[in-house]
Amino acid sequence: MYSTVAPVMRIIEIPFAFVQSRLGIQRLAWLFLAPNLILFGVFAFLPIILNFLYALTGGDQVLLNDRPFVGGANFQSLANCENVFDPNSCERDLFWRAIWNSVWFVVLQVGLMVGFSLLTALVLNRDIRARGFFRGVFFFPVLLSPVVVALIWKWILQRNGLLNAGLEVMGYERVLWLLDRHWAFAWSVFLSVWAHMGFYTLILLAGLQAIPRDVYEAALMDRASPWRTFRKITLPLLAPTMLVVLVLALIKGVQTFDEIYAFTGGGPGSATTFIIQYIYQTGFAGAPRLFGLAAAASILLALVLALLTAVQLWANRRNVDG
């Protein structure tokens, strides 16, 4: 390892030594920062500006020079609705379907996720044997790739799958789970909770373990009931961590794409098409490629995410200070 890296490092040293001899030590910092800043600039800041340019132009050409300026037409097209609660009345019905799907998905998924993560963290925080093992049990799906997660569950839910076998043993009819709108949606929520729960459990467990023991001992002395202890001590002291978990789950929930796309492909129909998939389909998968519309949708998404991220940073800071 060292012998392969060393020559590379010696080559990089040449420009650094040169700049150091010319500009001095403190200004050398910029050379250390340069690669990172260039990458940030080209692949993070430049795209933000270009995103607006795309959103304000139309057509299906990639190059900005070939794209006619259309002003706010893309945004207007997205917002052109008689009634936003009824996607059928909208010019871009799929966009609004994706939005409402996402809203429902996020509400259900985040609710279940936080609930089960908290329950699991509380269980793991008890005086149990082999805690490391059990923590691993709940955590490992976080590491699985989205496609693998999707295929694991598709295999169980398929027509001749394990679940249908179980149903038949109990005397019920087989169900084609992923061909039914409601079931496909419900299983998408389940799959997502299954795959990501361990991550939030881990954070909540760390939060629980940070609560000082003597507070509980004091409660025990006062003969407080377990329920009262939980409500009056655990919950308030865990609240900052809960806030972080909630906001993180929201940020990730809104951006759900990979596992559901591999799981249902957004279907049946558009029952599990979420906002990122709408952007992907509009800009990349379909013909014509409506880059302007996709960019406009992603700017709206960015606003929501920026708001949530601001809350996250604020919550984190409060956590660190407290």
Binding site: I12, E13, F16, Q20, I25, Q26, L28, A29, F32, L33, P35, N36, L37, F40, F43, P47, I48, L50, N51, Y54, V123, R126, I128, R129, F134, R135, G136, V137, F139, L143, S145, P146, V147, V148, L151, I152, W155, N160, L162, N164, W194, F199, L202, V244, L248, Q255, F257, D258, A262, G265, I279, Y280, G283, F284, A294, A295, S298, L301, A302, L313
Partner: protein, 351 residues
């Protein structure tokens, strides 16, 4: 066994008495094992079944294969059956040919005489056996090695570049005092607010203009600088005392040497955590490769897996085997590095 029981029944009170809350706790944990591990175990078991066995409903737990026998005069091994009814009841016969409901069979011991058997009277002789051909076929018929190579190349290169670039930036932000440092820090925080998902369209244009579309580099480079990585490393490097740097400068070490001979080795724990995270992110990455890579020969394992499942010609047997091979590296990493992964993910907030 007794040890296990006493181990499992040890309680908080330590008197071998299970409180009802203990029962609930362990009940919940056992459900957890079943629900979290069960599906993966089922996947692995299923991946060793033959295609015929996979079609079977209701499915069986273990993979079975039909017993076969070599008979002189026949090129292929013949399938063996127990005959449970009719004229030949009680014999073990091998199948030559089946026509509708009637089968032509022979006794392996006396292969000259052909017997006619009603298929309602037979029962296949099966034994537990792993259909390893599901896996070997991946290498022979599907371009599995190619996808494996693409995924590995992207993961290794992206992780290496990310570690180098991010640690350089973290070094500058933690060990130098220069005008504009706060501005840079704020810019780095700013990029946290811009997930890749909201700049897909312009990112696609830039990657295209740089000629990296449909190339592995187009997947590697755009994500190489991560705010998370810079932060994680900076927070760690701040704790390294400045006196070490001053001493090295006294000895006329160049700044670059200080960086890679002193700071990098001292930051090894943080770099290790970041490396594990980066490997996982890259190995599991899906959306960006999906946009950048459009030719099958450039597909990563994840893309290949996803596109195979959409094809009618793909059989579950190969798909399941491929799924198992795709999750294998991550499973191994997890088993050996669980502690680091847990702390790493908890401290960075995922990504």
């Amino acid at each position: 066994m007794g040890k296990i029981v006493s181990f499992m029944t040890r309680t908080r009170a330590g008197k071998g008495q299970m409180d009802w809350t203990d029962w609930l706790t362990y009940g919940y944990l056992c459900m957890g094992i079943l629900l979290m591990f069960g599906p993966v175990v089922w996947l692995v078991l299923s991946s060793f079944k033959t295609e015929a066995d996979l079609q079977r409903f209701p499915p069986r737990l273990l993979p079975y294969a039909q017993e076969t026998v070599e008979v002189e005069g026949y090129d292929e091994p013949l399938a063996l059956f127990d005959i449970v009814g009719g004229d030949h009841e009680g014999r073990k016969l091998a199948l030559i040919r089946r026509v509708g409901l009637v089968a032509q069979m022979i006794d392996p011991a006396a292969p000259d005489e052909r017997l006619r058997v009603n298929v309602a009277d037979w029962q296949p002789i099966e034994r537990v056996s792993l259909a390893v051909e599901n896996y070997t076929l991946l290498f022979e018929r599907f371009n599995f090695l190619r996808f494996l190579w693409n995924s590995t190349f992207i993961t290794v290169m992206a992780t290496a570049i990310m570690l180098l670039v991010n640690s350089m930036a973290a070094f500058a932000l933690s060990k130098y005092k220069f005008r504009g440092r706060t501005t840079v820090l704020i810019l780095v925080i700013g990029t946290l607010m811009i997930p890749q998902t909201v700049v897909l369209v312009p990112l696609f244009l830039i990657t295209r203009e740089l000629g990296m579309l449909n190339s592995l580099w187009g997947v590697i480079i755009p994500g190489a600088a991560t705010p998370t990585g810079v932060f994680l490393l900076r927070q760690y490097m701040i704790t390294i005392p400045d006196e070490i740097l001053d001493a090295a400068r006294m000895d006329k070490a160049s700044e670059w040497k200080i960086f890679w001979r002193i700071i990098l080795p001292l930051s090894a724990p943080a770099i290790a955590v970041l490396a594990i995270l980066a490997i996982m992110w890259r190995w599991n990455d899906f959306l960006w490769p999906l946009i950048v890579l459009s030719e099958t020969e450039n597909f990563t394992l994840q893309l290949a897996l996803n596109s195979f499942q959409g094809e009618m010609s793909t059989q579950w047997s190969n798909l399941l085997a491929m799924t198992v091979l795709t999750l294998l590296p991550i499973a191994l990493v997890f088993m050996f590095l669980q502690k680091y992964i847990a702390t790493g993910i908890a401290s960075t907030g995922g990504k």
